[in-house]
């Protein structure tokens, strides 16, 4: 029962052992102190460093959003000037995208979970991992400096020629900061790919790889292929301001549409950097809380890669009205529709996983279900925008704003929060308060829809995006949207309170509070410094084998004297008796 019957798989003797409950020594109790944290190469602590940084940026950009929405309560100027308004939406967008959403799941949660799911002690290059965090910090400092030395009002897309010659502020520094940040993203992607290829524990074949890791893998591929192109684009833009390079600046002879091609060649794939890891989280949560084997494992795994691939071919759908040839428009429109196929495959498989499962409506599961609902709206409206004639009407309206908020916030942020609640017991060793978690989710869900549903309507009625004033007929929609935004703020405050509270006073978490079958739950909560007590675990069951009893899911470790004899027989010794979860 211990190994598969495939002939050329190495046979090992394994000893089973259950994870330690209430561990005394964990990664949190060892290597303590500020200096130890700041210089740590432990993937779990680096995950925390990222998590706290992105939480900070989420807060900053969130406050900016509330300011923007407050200004929009009235059709004319309420309390900030038009120029300030432009700066605020630029910063809101740029910070949310580059400093929060892109690193959110991969660098924060992924860093923590990936080695645990692979059964290794750390990522392949721990020092590079720390370096990538500091590159992120450096990028952040540069961007913050740019904000305080003039700001930027180009929008997060930095379109030329406005950004290359007309706009004031400190664009050079801003684009340079984002350029630096890109390298952090590249290094994380590189690290993850190598780790997944080279560091899987024995028994963890590609067809047992948890779907979260498939998601991270696809994301990493996009990160290493697309981010360098953004880097060179922003470098060119920086040089445009610094040396007057002029490749994108029509005043000197350059071509501004070329900039848009370059930018979207990165940024459309980047929107998948911002969603595919979320898909991975949803797969994990849905099977765990449906107590059922994931439906269509390969379909889900490969559709992530398919999305990553097609995502590289659709950038032109952002430029339908930018003077592209109509042939190009048609091709890009068609390719955009294709993205819907792998995305749909995923949704169907998730729903099929839930079908006839025994669904447990814990907070992470509720997040996953909200995700399904909101992401579908986001995805479908994306298809509509991909239709040429429709897009000409809707381009640069609030409809687009609503579309990408449904995918980025309703999709990715909800998936991220689902993952955070799902892995919180593992990361902190503490349980949060279910009741308040559900209340806050309810508020977020209502607040989110209240904020963004009206935007679809006003967008289709012609309300353009990035405007500081508007016609009076839109006021009702704008006010609904602003009240929704305040509600979102309340939801997040509640969340911050109960999460912090749980860190100090939460109930001690069991090693596997959700009864999940995947490997990270076979380590204690919180895990020891080297994840699996200095041993390399042997993976015997698939991480979605819910048809097997929980008692079989103890970690196997190779007994010390074997591993070199190919012909050695497998006699798994029964582990110490222990109570099973189920």
């Amino acid at each position: 029962m211990a190994t598969s019957d495939s002939p050329n798989i190495k046979k090992l003797q394994v000893r089973r052992y259950p994870p330690e409950e209430n561990p005394k020594k964990t990664y949190l109790t060892e290597e303590r102190g500020l200096w130890a944290w700041m210089t740590t190469v432990d993937h779990k602590k680096i995950g925390w460093l990222y998590l706290s940084s992105i939480a900070f940026f989420f807060f900053v950009a969130g406050v900016l959003a509330l300011l923007l929405r407050t200004e929009l309560l009235t059709p004319s100027q309420s309390f900030i000037t038009a120029d300030t308004y432009n700066q605020l939406f630029t910063l809101h967008g740029a910070i949310m995208v580059f400093f929060f959403l892109v690193p959110s799941v991969p660098a924060a949660l992924g860093n923590f979970i990936l080695p645990l799911q692979l059964g290794c002690k750390d990522v392949a290059f721990p020092r590079v991992n720390l370096l990538s965090f500091y590159i992120y910090v450096a990028g952040a400092i540069i961007v913050l400096t740019a904000i305080f030395t003039g700001g930027v009002d180009t929008g997060w897309t930095f379109y030329t020629p406005y950004s290359s010659s007309a706009a004031g502020g400190n664009i050079m520094m801003m684009t340079f900061g984002v350029f630096v940040l890109g390298f952090s993203s590249i290094l994380t992607g590189l690290n993850f790919i190598v780790t997944i290829h080279r560091m899987r524990s024995p028994g963890l074949t590609w067809n047992k790889l948890p779907l979260f890791l498939w998601g991270l893998y696809a994301t990493s591929v996009i990160q290493i292929l697309a981010t360098p192109v953004l880097a060179i684009t922003l470098l060119l833009l920086t040089m445009e301001r610094l040396l007057g390079i002029g490749i994108f600046d029509p005043a000197i002879g350059g071509d501004p549409v070329l900039y848009q091609h370059f930018f979207w060649f990165y940024s459309h794939p980047a929107v998948y950097i911002m969603i595919v890891p979320g898909f991975g989280i949803i797969s994990e949560i849905i099977t765990t809380f449906s107590r059922k084997h994931i439906f269509g494992y390969w379909a889900i795994a490969l559709s992530s890669l398919a999305i990553a691939f097609i995502g590289f071919l659709v950038w032109g759908h952002h430029m339908f009205v930018a003077g592209q040839s109509s042939l190009a428009n048609m091709v890009f429109s068609f390719l955009t529709f294709l993205v819907g196929i792998p995305t749909g495959i995923k949704i169907f498989n998730w729903v099929a996983t839930m079908y006839k499962g025994s669904i447990d409506l814990k907070t992470p599961m509720l997040y996953a279900m909200s995700f399904l609902f909101l992401f579908m709206i986001g995805g479908f409206t994306g298809i509509m925008l991909g239709a040429l004639s429709v897009d000409i009407h809707l381009h640069d309206t609030y409809y687009v704003v609503a579309h990408f908020h449904y995918v980025m916030m309703g999709g990715m942020v909800f998936a991220f929060l689902g993952g955070l609640h799902y892995w919180w017991p593992k990361m902190t060793g503490k349980m949060y308060n279910e009741f308040w978690a559900k209340i806050s989710l309810l508020i977020l869900f209502i607040g989110f829809n209240l904020t963004f549903l009206p935007q679809f309507v006003m967008g289709s009625l012609g309300m353009p995006r990035r405007y500081f004033n508007y016609l009076e007929q839109f006021q009702g929609y704008h006010q609904l949207s602003t009240w929704g935004a305040y509600l979102l703020g309340v939801g997040f405050v509640i969340m911050a309170v109960y999460l912090f509270h749980s860190m100090r006073n939460g109930k001690q978490a069991k090693a596997n509070p959700w009864g999940s079958r995947s490997l990270e739950w076979q380590a204690s909560s919180p895990p020891p410094l080297h994840n699996f007590e200095h041993h390399t675990p042997v993976i015997i069951h698939g991480s979605y084998d819910y048809h097997k009893p929980m008692s079989e899911f103890q970690l196997g470790i190779p007994t010390s004297h074997n591993g070199h004899g190919e012909e050695e027989t497998v006699t798994p010794e029964p582990g110490p008796a222990e109570e099973a979860d189920k």
Binding site: K121, R200, P202, V229, L243, I245
Partner: protein
């Protein structure tokens, strides 16, 4: 292959989180290869800009490329190709555990890279002297084309970025020499040498593309 071996007889890895030295070697090699892919895409953006502008203004490229000095470009190509050879010899030396050979070969490579940069410096100085500057600052009137400045923008971006890569390569190799002198490398552990070698080949290959694309068109 991808599965780490559990054998206790394996070489101990340099860093504790690897199961054994083989795994570490494979991992670092793969890491370098992926890094090189990102480098190619990074330069790829510039090549794309080159292709677009060349397709739009073919006559501009032919005229402006006359301003570049084919002789010194060719010399630099030879210099870089030789340095690729010497860096390969450096790797060979360390594989044979000949640390002295490693250090000598690294020094030769560093010097060749230095020669490349010196020649590049004179090329730049000569152009800047006549007012061949990128984009907005272009004042030279020897090329009869209104977009001549854009050609030189692309020229400076491509060769400048490549030059920065050469400088990075020089620093990496100086660091290797320093490590090698401290006895860090042996035939059992030389991942950084191998990685730097791969990087250096890439820098070389990029130049092999830049040279004909910029200097040899007409």
């Amino acid at each position: 292959m991808a599965q780490p071996s559990l054998s206790v007889k394996k070489e101990k890895p340099e860093h504790h989180h690897f199961v054994d030295a083989d795994q570490q070697f494979e991992a670092s090699k793969m890491g370098v290869w992926i890094f090189l892919v990102t480098e190619i895409l990074f330069f790829g953006g510039l090549f794309a800009a080159y292709i677009v502008y060349r397709a739009w203004y073919p006559e501009l490229f032919i005229a402006a490329s006359d301003e570049l000095d084919v002789f010194w470009g060719a010399v630099n190509t030879v210099v870089l190709i030789s340095s690729s050879l010497t860096v390969a010899m450096a790797i060979r030396s360390v594989q044979l555990n000949q640390i002295k050979g490693l250090i000598i070969n690294l020094w030769i490579t560093i010097s060749l890279a230095g020669v490349f940069m010196v020649i590049k410096y004179f090329e730049y100085a000569e152009k800047i002297g006549k007012g061949v500057l990128p984009g907005a600052h272009y004042t030279y009137d020897g090329v009869d084309h209104e977009k001549a400045n854009i050609f030189f923008s692309i020229y400076y971006m491509m060769t400048g970025l490549h030059g920065i890569h050469v400088l990075v390569g020089i620093s990496l190799m100086l660091w290797l020499v320093w490590k090698a002198k401290k006895g860090h490398f042996s035939s059992k552990y030389y991942n950084p040498v191998e990685g730097t070698g791969l990087y250096w080949h890439l820098v070389d290959i990029i130049w092999i593309f830049l040279f004909p694309l910029l200097y040899l068109i007409d």
